[in-house]
C-alpha cells in the first residue's frame, strides 16, 4: 500500500536469492500447514498446489489463509473442523482479494501501533471461478493497491464445486455442463482468457504460471512470491479428474502433458521481466494431451476436426508470443 507498484520499479527485486536446489527430503520434514483428512477428492490437483505453496512460507512466519467460496473452501473448513494449521477466513465468492486486503491492512495498522509483534504472511487460494471471473474486479483492485498478499489461483479450468460449468479459464472446445456437446454445440465456443498476463499488466513485483507436476518449480516460485515486497500472483494448473474425465491416478501426468504440449507453459514475470522457467525442447502435439481427457472426446469426431485445429493454432500462437516476451525468439 505504498504506491510502489504503480510503475516498474526495478529495485523492488526479490530480496533474497531463492534456493534453486530445493530438496524433497527437506520438504518432507516440514510441518504441513494443510493437514490430511480434508475432504477434497482423491487425485485432486488443488491440495497438491496448496501444499507446494505453503512449503515456501518463510520460517517463523505466521500465515492467514483466505479462500473464496469453492471446492477447497467447502472441503477444508467444515464446521467445527478445520484442515488449516493457519488462521483462516472465507467470506464470499467474488471477494477473496478484497477480504484479504482488509486483513493485511489491519495487520499493518496494528503492527504500526505495536499491538502485533509477529511476522505475518497473507495468502489466498482461489479457484479459476473466483479468480478469472466473478473475483476479477476485487483481484485487480488488490493488485493495483499493492497489498502484500500472495494470491494463488488453483486453476482447474471450470467451476468444479458446482459440477463442471465453463469459466473464463476453460479452453476452446472443452465440454462442460454449460458448454455442452450437442447438435449445435461442440463444447466451449471461446478461447480462455490469459489471467497470468492480466495480473502481470498490473506491474506487481511477481507473477508466475506453474503446474502441480513440477513441484520444485512451484515451490521456488512460491518462495519468490512470499519474498516479494507487494502483491504476487501464482496461477497454478491443478487438474480435476472429475471435470476433465480421466482416471484419478493420472493427475500429475495430465499436468505434465499440459506443459509439454505448451497449452500451459511455465514462466514467471519478475519485476516486469518475463522468463520461461521450463524450456520445452520437443513440443508435443496437443492431441496427446486432449485424447486422454473425456472432456475433449467429442473433438476427435471427424466433424469437429476444425475445432481441434483451432485450439492447436491458438496454443501455438500463444506459445510464440510467450517466447517473444521471454526473449527466447525474435520477431521474424
Amino acid at each position: 500500500m505504498n504506491g510502489k507498484n504503480v510503475l516498474f520499479i526495478w529495485e523492488y527485486v526479490i530480496r533474497e536469492e531463492t534456493d534453486v536446489a530445493i530438496k524433497l527430503s527437506d520438504l518432507t520434514h516440514q510441518k504441513e500447514l494443510l493437514t490430511g483428512g480434508h475432504r477434497m477428492c482423491a487425485g485432486c490437483g488443488a491440495p497438491i498446489a496448496v501444499r507446494q505453496v505453503l512449503h515456501a512460507v518463510p520460517e517463523n512466519a505466521q500465515v492467514v489463509t483466505c479462500c473464496p467460496t469453492g471446492c477447497l473452501e467447502v472441503s477444508t473448513s467444515i464446521y467445527p473442523y478445520s484442515s488449516w494449521r493457519t488462521a483462516f477466513i472465507h467470506s464470499a465468492f467474488e471477494n477473496a482479494a478484497a477480504t484479504i486486503s482488509g486483513v493485511e491492512a489491519a495487520y499493518r495498522a496494528l503492527k504500526k501501533k505495536g499491538k502485533i509483534g509477529e511476522d505475518f504472511r497473507f495468502v489466498v487460494f482461489g479457484g479459476d471461478g473466483g479468480t478469472y471471473d466473478i473475483g476479477l474486479q476485487a483481484l485487480s483492485g488488490m493488485l493495483e493497491r499493492g497489498h502484500r498478499v500472495v494470491y494463488v489461483c488453483y486453476n482447474n479450468e471450470a467451476y468444479m464445486n458446482t459440477g463442471i460449468q465453463r469459466s473464463g479459464a476453460t479452453q476452446l472446445g472443452t465440454w462442460t455442463t454449460t458448454s455442452p456437446f450437442g447438435e449445435r454445440s461442440a463444447g466451449k465456443a471461446q478461447n480462455r482468457k490469459d489471467l497470468t498476463a492480466i495480473a502481470a499488466a498490473h506491474n506487481i513485483p511477481y507473477v508466475a504460471q506453474a503446474a502441480i507436476h513440477s513441484w520444485r518449480d512451484t515451490v521456488n516460485k512460491a518462495r519468490k512470491a512470499f519474498q516479494a515486497d507487494g502483491s504476487a500472483l501464482l496461477n497454478i494448473l491443478a487438474p480435476c479428474h472429475r471435470g476433465w474425465r480421466y482416471p484419478m491416478e493420472e493427475t500429475v501426468e495430465i499436468s505434465r502433458l499440459a506443459t509439454e504440449t505448451c497449452i500451459w507453459p511455465l514462466y514467471e514475470v519478475e519485476n516486469g521481466k518475463w522468463r520461461l522457467t521450463h524450456k520445452v525442447r520437443q513440443k508435443k502435439p496437443l492431441r496427446e494431451y486432449l485424447e486422454k481427457q473425456g472432456r475433449y472426446s467429442h473433438l476427435f469426431r471427424p466433424e469437429n476436426e476444425a475445432i481441434l485445429e483451432q485450439l492447436q493454432a491458438f496454443t501455438d500462437q500463444q506459445w510464440e508470443q510467450l517466447l517473444l516476451r521471454c526473449g527466447e525468439t525474435t520477431e521474424s
Partner: protein
C-alpha cells in the same frame, strides 16, 4: 471543553471518525456520501489519524475488506449511500452473520431506477432485515452523536453486530449546521479501545472465520444467536445513550417524543423531516389541535413495545414513510411494522400512512397540514380502513 462549530453533515461524520481514529477504513465514494471519504482521506493525508485507508474499487469490496479487517481484530468503519449499499447487500448479511462490530454511516439516497441522487430511505429500508442495527438522525448533531455511540453499541459483548447510522442525503449531508463536538480527549475516553476476540492475527490461537456449515451443521443455532443479539441490542443502545448523556449533556433513546402526553393525533417519522414536523406541531397546537410527534431514532431493533406504550392513548397516528415496500397496498415499512406492533392490543389507534419525499421531493409545511387534514377527516368518519396516501405527488 466541547467545541461549537458550523459543519455540513458529512464533515460532522468525518469529525466523529477522526476522534474514533479507526484502525482501518475501506471505502468507495458515492454521492452524497463522497465528502465523508474525501474529508477523511485528507485527515489520513494530514496525519490527523493513523488509520490504514483502503481505497476499494467498489462498495462490495469496501465492505469485504471491512469484514477481513474486523476479523483481524481492527476497529473498522466505512460509509456509503444508495447504490453502494445495494452493491454491499450480500456482504451486509455476512458482516452481521460473522458478528463483526463494523460502524457504517449511510447517507440516505433514493435507489435507482430512475437514477436519482436525492434523499429517501429506500436504500437503508432495503437492508432492514440484514441484521444491522439502524439508527436514524434528524440533523448533523445527531449524526455525529450516533456515530460515536454506534462504536460502543456494536462492540458490546452482548451485541457484536454492525451498526448503520442513517442521515438524510443533502438535507443533512450537505447543509451547514451548528453543532457541538466533544473535545478530543473526552471522545477518546468514551470510545476506549477495542478488545478483539478471535483475531486472525492471534498467533497463539489462529482462528477460522466464515467456515462451511454444509453437512447438517449449526446454521440454525447461529441465526438464533444472532436474533438474540439484536434483541440484546436495545438494552445496549439505552446503556450507551446513558453514558453519552453524561459526557455530552445530550439525551438519546429509542425515540423522542414532542408534545405527546395529551395528544390525540400523533405523527410518527424518522430522519430530517422531524424538524419540519416539529415546527408544524407548534403552529397546529396554537390553532387548538391536540397534536404531537414521535421521532423514531432506532429502527433496528424495532422498539415495538415501547412504541405501543407511548402511543396507546392516542386516537390517530399518521405514519410518515420516506420509502415504499411495493408489497401491494401494504404501505411503507414503518407503517407496516407499527401496525403489526399493535396487533395484540385491545386499544388500537386509527393509522394512516403518508408516503412522502421519494427521490428528494420536498416535505413542505403545507404538505404536513394536508396530512393532518386527512387524519381529521378519517377520524370524523370512524372508518377503520387502512389508508395509504402519497403526499405531494403530482397528478
Amino acid at each position: 471543553m466541547p467545541r461549537t462549530v458550523a459543519l455540513i453533515g458529512t464533515d460532522a461524520i468525518a469529525e466523529a471518525m477522526r476522534q474514533i481514529n479507526p484502525d482501518v477504513v475501506p471505502a468507495y465514494p458515492i454521492t452524497p456520501q463522497t465528502a465523508i471519504v474525501e474529508t477523511f482521506a485528507q485527515m489520513v493525508g494530514d496525519g490527523l489519524v493513523d488509520t490504514e485507508m483502503i481505497n476499494a474499487e467498489s462498495e462490495h469490496s469496501a465492505l469485504s475488506a471491512a469484514i477481513g479487517a474486523a476479523a483481524a481484530g481492527a476497529r473498522v468503519m466505512t460509509a456509503t449511500s444508495a447504490q453502494g449499499l445495494a452493491l454491499m447487500w450480500e456482504m451486509l448479511y455476512i458482516a452481521s452473520g460473522m458478528r463483526l462490530p463494523i460502524v457504517m454511516p449511510n447517507v440516505n439516497r433514493a435507489l435507482s431506477a430512475p437514477i436519482n441522487i436525492h434523499c429517501d430511505h429506500s436504500d437503508s429500508m432495503g437492508a432492514r432485515d440484514s441484521g444491522w442495527i439502524q439508527l436514524f438522525s434528524e440533523n448533523a448533531q445527531e449524526a455525529y452523536d450516533n456515530v460515536l455511540q454506534a462504536v460502543l453499541i456494536a462492540e458490546d459483548p452482548n451485541v457484536l453486530l454492525p451498526v448503520m447510522v442513517l442521515l438524510d442525503g443533502f438535507i443533512i449531508s450537505h447543509a451547514v449546521e451548528r453543532l457541538d463536538l466533544l473535545d478530543d480527549r473526552t471522545a477518546k475516553q468514551f470510545i476506549g479501545t477495542l478488545m478483539p476476540r478471535d483475531s486472525l492475527l492471534d498467533a497463539e490461537n489462529p482462528p477460522s472465520w466464515g467456515v462451511f456449515d454444509g453437512l447438517g451443521g449449526y446454521y440454525f443455532e447461529f441465526k438464533r444467536a444472532q436474533a438474540q443479539a439484536m434483541i440484546n441490542a436495545a438494552a445496549a443502545v439505552r446503556k450507551v445513550a446513558g453514558q453519552y448523556a453524561e459526557i455530552s449533556g445530550r439525551h438519546y433513546d429509542f425515540f423522542e417524543t414532542y408534545r405527546l402526553d395529551d395528544a390525540e393525533l400523533v405523527i410518527v417519522a424518522a430522519g430530517s423531516a422531524a424538524g419540519t414536523i416539529r415546527s408544524m406541531i407548534d403552529d397546529l397546537r396554537a390553532e387548538g389541535l391536540r397534536i404531537g410527534m414521535l421521532k423514531l431514532r432506532m429502527f433496528r431493533p424495532f422498539p415495538e413495545r415501547d412504541l405501543v406504550k407511548a402511543l396507546s392513548h392516542v386516537k390517530n397516528v399518521a405514519v410518515f414513510d420516506r420509502s415504499d415496500t411495493f408489497a401491494g397496498e401494504m404501505g411503507g415499512p414503518l407503517f407496516v411494522e407499527l401496525r403489526a406492533a399493535f396487533y395484540e392490543e385491545e386499544k388500537r389507534p386509527q393509522m394512516l400512512n403518508f408516503i412522502y419525499g421519494l427521490g428528494g421531493r420536498d416535505l413542505s409545511r403545507n404538505l404536513i397540514r394536508q396530512a393532518v387534514d386527512s387524519c381529521k377527516l378519517a377520524a370524523g368518519s370512524n372508518e377503520r380502513q387502512k389508508r395509504i396516501i402519497y403526499l405531494g405527488i403530482r397528478d
